[in-house]
Symmetry: C2
Subunit: 219 residues, 2 copies
């Protein structure tokens, strides 16, 4: 009885995601869906990325959290159009939540929307929201076995940021092992080793993201 229900939910979600995608295309807005476990560094990455790109691109942010506005407060402090979605318990964002949030953004004056999904290494990957790219963060403190144990998100992400590299001396994380597993799940994934704490490695990420925006804008 359970599988058909889940399939129906995913099918309904896909229809709305397709509508979102058409709207984004029409408005010329590049959309990134940023996912990770809780505490891997999504909001810290956003703060740095927005500071780097906001003078050249008009960016809106949709913050997904079960409750509270900690993260959207941090983003709004950067003078960025921000919408908070409180899922009230749900462990992921779906396309309908995004559609509803879009009414609060000035879509005619945006180049990019970044969606910060609920912190969860599983469910967010299952729900298309109409994004151009799924991106994800894996923190070195989570362990090098996570790609093997939670493969779906890795296999669907265009880019992966391996964050908290400043903590590498203090944790047991085999970078080669992790990357070998990830490349098997998605051979063309772009991987960046970064520290959102000290900023190491982030320039390459900004450059790559900018190329994605430009490629999308060029059609």
């Amino acid at each position: 009885m359970k599988i058909p229900v889940v399939k129906n939910i995913l099918k309904a979600n896909q229809q709305v995601a397709n509508e979102n995608r058409c709207l984004f295309m029409e408005k010329g807005i590049y959309v990134m869906n940023l996912m990770s476990s809780p505490g891997a560094g999504k909001t810290s990455l956003l703060e740095r990325t927005l500071s780097s790109l906001k003078d050249r691109y008009r960016i809106g942010v949709i913050e997904g959290d079960i409750q509270d506005t900690c993260d959207s407060d941090r983003i709004a402090a950067l003078d960025i159009q921000t919408v908070q979605i409180n899922t009230g318990g749900a462990c992921h964002l779906d396309a309908t939540m995004i559609l509803q949030a879009l009414y609060s953004l000035d879509l005619d004056n945006l180049d990019m929307v970044i969606v910060e999904n609920v912190g969860n290494l599983v469910c967010p990957a299952e729900f298309d929201i109409g994004e151009n790219d799924k991106m994800m963060i894996l923190s070195v403190t989570e362990g090098d076995d996570k790609p093997l144990k939670y493969p779906l998100m890795f296999s669907l992400s265009s880019a992966l940021l391996i964050n908290k590299t400043d903590l590498l001396p203090y944790v047991n994380f085999d970078m080669k092992k992790a990357k070998d597993t990830i490349k098997k799940l998605r051979p063309d994934i772009k991987i960046f080793d970064v520290s959102c704490k000290d900023g190491n490695g982030l320039d390459a990420w900004y450059d790559w993201l900018e190329k994605r925006i430009k490629a999308f804008k060029a059609g």
Copy 2:
């Protein structure tokens, strides 16, 4: 349309969880449901806890993972009865999965079953599996804002282990702020500051867990 479906799933789960609970009572088995984000240290905690208690208690372990047997291989290496549940995508264990796994355990010769849930700070808390206690781990690398952002699991857990305290000098984690938030969510929660890497703080955890087992056995 979505809420009634979810309610039906949870209601069906509760019925099976009640059956599991009756079975555990009948067999005199204390059951712990261990939950956390991916990589917070569930398997490392289990390895240490099993090594400490296995000479005095007959313990079985149910390992929940989306795929693979990394964790159950680590536990079975300690000469512990271990069952692996591969959820094939599902982000949590439910009562029916536990019921099915129980057939592989020698229930007449166990004092305790520890269930290591799928790494996820959201969904596992929603599904009763018939356990005596939900326990959870929060790693200091995840950040002190997590109780506020993911309140349900904290509010339902009898005990919380704040793990990776060896990394406190290198991360920005306000222990008082985290604990104040947690105590508001669940005033009677028992909190242990531990490092599963160097073993600090774990003796108090073993003692407390042993008291829980004894209290259950005493009825």
